[in-house]
Symmetry: C2
Subunit: 411 residues, 2 copies
């Protein structure tokens, strides 16, 4: 039998009614002849409750105990889902991470999957079991302790199972009905994409389109797992949702396929630094050591041996960045006149694999923004993406103008 | 290092504050030099919530999935307790049943413990760990599935660990401060016992003194585990609570040590049955098959080849008993004129190992009740117990009169 992986997130299994609804979807796929592996999250809110208790008990907690506690929510859902399927006369059983076993390294709280031996579950499929319900987000370390994969780990679990079982597809059921050309709350003309390439999805995921965990998309790309995102709250069909797949599986694509926007950005400028070899390392070394995720970087033209350095980072890392740079200065490793911080910025990006073969996208983007009177503060580009940092108040305007200009409302 | 087992029930770990309070008690024992095994229940209410979800999902549930779901509450408490101890600088870690492993048979929902290999935990004690926090109530079956031990299973877990680790004592922390001569809500003069013999505790436990699970007391008696019941809500001392121990460890004992009372009784009388060999089997066979726990039995004096048979059973099994006897009659396996049911009864019992060597206890009990004008409906005796079935409205009166007559308020 071909294997299908179906993953249901927290809102899709938030209560017994929703679990029943999800089970019906599983039933539809079983009826088509699939052996189904269902990956479940904890009921929505449960994991946060457990995380809260751990934090309150022990601010600097032992991650091994954190994992033992927070993994319990998924176990509850897995058992309830198996029972619900059995009530529908579908042979099903639950599996906790250690029972599969889903083997991880020992990086508690953010463990990496090392191996998923398919033998145990395949043996049960061979005996007539139709659905293996697996508690997502968890595994077992070489020491026999429970590990968790970090936030969004259930998506990663699902993709890893799809790879290990050579599944036909991995369907991620969530509370949105697919991946959009942009955030529909910002731009009414946003259109659901039928297909999107892994690379594009990766750029969109890391740029703030919160549909899928970046890590799960990376894994899907590496193992070429066809990934479908669809809503558990709408009627199912074979064309529902968005298929995330290899570039080769997409016949025709727009030059730009999506506009991503992120509010959570800050811009920092080190004013008057020496323009000499090693200066970049002396700035970004300490930032990296402090765990600051520096995103965009620009260096001004040098005048009389001094220059300015501007970079962006997530807004909640500003304090950490400030501290790291201050300490570097105090230690005599870095000199600058001033650290200018601008927390009133946002990042808007155009993404599309078509950019690889088509030029002029950047020029068009800059012109569109200029026509709207929006000043660009920082620019960064990759093979399939152009990002700009602009004033936050222009975010909606920029997204809408770019969506129009690149005609994203058209398929 | 000597090993001490400490068990905390649901109300003793109901929230983070109470877990901290329990952890402090553990700290006191660690400071005395013990290696401590802590057995924890789920936070109070959690298991009921999970059981409710399972029942709602699947009325005739798969007990394997039931176990996978309801065992999760203990895992949460175990992790939180380990973290709390770590915050107090006490080296601790949590263990789930399958990690120990606590091996059981495959009787899901009411599994029997088969083996607790002490090697894993002892190895950690050897490495400097001071406290092993074990999730109670759960184990692992030969098939590698999670099992639960049935209600009150955490007491049984604690005693089994004390036996497997040859612990000096097993302390059961609960919401009462010990075992009383009778229910203090019924009789104000009720006195806490410092010591009680296993056999007496067994009679009291099965007679309605809900302090400890019968099964855990049986296990403690078989392995001669010293069991102490004490409150987690009062200050600790070495003489706190009640020690349940072998008869030899009790220097001096009253003839009667406790008066137990149970409201949940019913009396059933089969009127006019044939007084012939095999008649008892034809009555109690079907009742046993139907899962009715028959307690006391009396057969009237036979007249003209017919007699009456009276028995008692828990009040919630009356319907089941009625059905079983009706079906036996319909199948021609049993004849009776009438089934008289009295649900307005209660059982009052006097318990004491001293009865073995001292006669006249029954006579005294009957006289006390007679002096109060209380009619005895059924009598049953064992070596260390005399039970009577009386009208329920006399329960308080009977308990108080017996408590006075046997001078139980005196140590």
């Amino acid at each position: 039998m071909p294997v299908l992986v179906m993953k249901f997130g927290g809102t899709s299994v938030a209560n017994l009614d929703r679990i029943r609804r999800a089970a019906k979807r599983v039933g539809v796929e079983v009826a088509k002849g699939y052996d189904v592996i269902v990956i479940v999250s904890a009921m929505s809110g449960k994991t946060n409750e457990l995380v809260g208790w751990v934090g309150e008990t022990s601010p600097m907690y032992d991650a091994r105990e954190y994992d033992a506690v927070v993994s319990s929510g998924e176990n509850v859902t897995a058992g309830l889902m198996a029972l619900t399927l059995q009530e529908m006369d579908i042979p099903a059983r639950s599996w906790q991470g250690w029972q599969v076993p889903l083997k991880t390294n020992s990086a508690h709280g953010a463990a990496r999957i090392e191996e998923i031996p398919p033998e145990n579950i395949m043996a049960k499929f061979g005996e007539g079991m139709k659905v293996a319900v697996v508690a997502g987000f968890q595994g077992i370390s070489p020491e026999g302790r429970i590990t968790t994969l970090g936030r969004g780990g259930s998506d990663t679990t699902a993709v890893a199972f799809a790879a290990a079982f050579d599944a036909e597809r991995c369907d991620i059921y969530t509370d949105v009905d697919g991946v959009y050309t942009t955030d529909p709350r910002i731009c009414q003309k946003a259109r659901k994409l039928d297909r999107i390439a892994f690379e594009e999805m990766l750029e969109l995921a890391s740029l703030g389109a919160k549909v899928l965990q970046t890590r799960s998309v990376e894994l899907a790309m590496r193992y070429n797992v066809k990934l479908r995102v669809l809503s558990s709250f709408e009627e199912q069909s074979d064309t529902a949702g968005t298929l995330i797949c290899a570039e080769e599986d997409i016949m025709e694509s727009n030059v730009v396929n999506g506009i991503a926007a992120s509010r959570e950005e800050a811009k920092m400028t080190l004013v008057t630094i020496a323009d000499e070899p090693g200066i970049a390392a002396s700035i970004f070394g300490p930032l990296s050591d402090a765990g600051v995720n520096v995103d965009m970087i620009i260096q001004n033209i040098s005048e009389e041996g001094v220059t300015d350095m501007t970079f962006s980072c997530p807004i909640d890392q500003v304090k950490r960045a400030e501290k790291a740079l201050g300490e570097a200065r105090d230690a005599g490793k870095l000199t600058f006149e001033e650290l200018a911080i601008d927390t009133e910025v946002c990042k808007v990006s155009a993404v599309g694999i078509g950019m690889r073969s088509q030029s002029g996208v950047a020029a068009k983007m800059f012109k569109v923004l200029s026509d709207e009177g929006i000043n660009i503060k920082v620019i960064a580009t990759s093979e399939i993406k152009i990002s700009v940092l602009i004033e936050r108040k222009y975010m909606e305007l920029a997204v809408q103008a770019l969506h129009d200009a690149f005609e994203l409302e058209k398929a």
